[in-house]
Symmetry: C2
Subunit: 119 residues, 2 copies
């Protein structure tokens, strides 16, 4: 049920490589990826879950309202992360020349469908 | 020397509230902020330094190239963070209705001046 939505996110985002719905424990519920050499999606999942946990903790301490979105840009990729519920979030990995604005829009838009699927 | 650049970043970013150059130890070299109630900039600095350390560690494990930029959006603020050197980074906090695209552009542009000032 998640796969179709994740595929839409990747295919329509402009430069999307992979997308996953996962828990803060680093375990993915479902994922969709384009073939891309040299990416260990499972490792990425676990590591970004750790980052997200740290961000979530920080945001709670600072009392600046719920965490909505995190973007991490490195030399090779941009990873967009959007909180879905208290337990789950969605990630979208873009290649270096991905369309950041369009990807953010797609992720925000499809979050509603993902939340419905989670409910 | 940093203050003028940080002021430029805040004033010209469109919705900017505060900006700081700080180390991964959470100690700010310099900062500039508009008066804004209910923000403890020192606490924010230390907490975001912890987040950045976690992101940096993750990016190194995943070998996806150097960390360049991190954006964290919550209900009340968006915090943009850009790596300057191995030891220092710059932050820009935007209000809820800040111009994200312009802020990213300003931070990228002024990073060069900040790196020069750090050298």
């Amino acid at each position: 049920m998640f796969k179709n939505i994740l595929q839409d996110i990747v295919e329509q985002s402009g430069g999307g490589i992979s997308s996953a719905v996962m828990g803060y424990d680093g375990i993915a519920i479902d994922q969709y990826e384009k073939p891309c050499e040299g990416i260990d999606l499972q490792l990425i999942a676990v590591e970004y879950a750790n980052v997200l946990k740290e961000v979530k903790r920080t945001v709670e301490i600072l009392e600046t309202g719920d965490m909505e979105e995190v973007a991490i840009r490195t030399e090779r990729f941009t990873v967009l992360i959007r909180a879905l519920t208290d337990e789950y979030f969605v990630t979208l990995t873009l290649g270096r020349n991905g369309n950041f604005g369009k990807a953010r829009y797609m992720l925000a838009k499809e979050s509603f469908r993902l939340r419905e699927a989670l409910a």
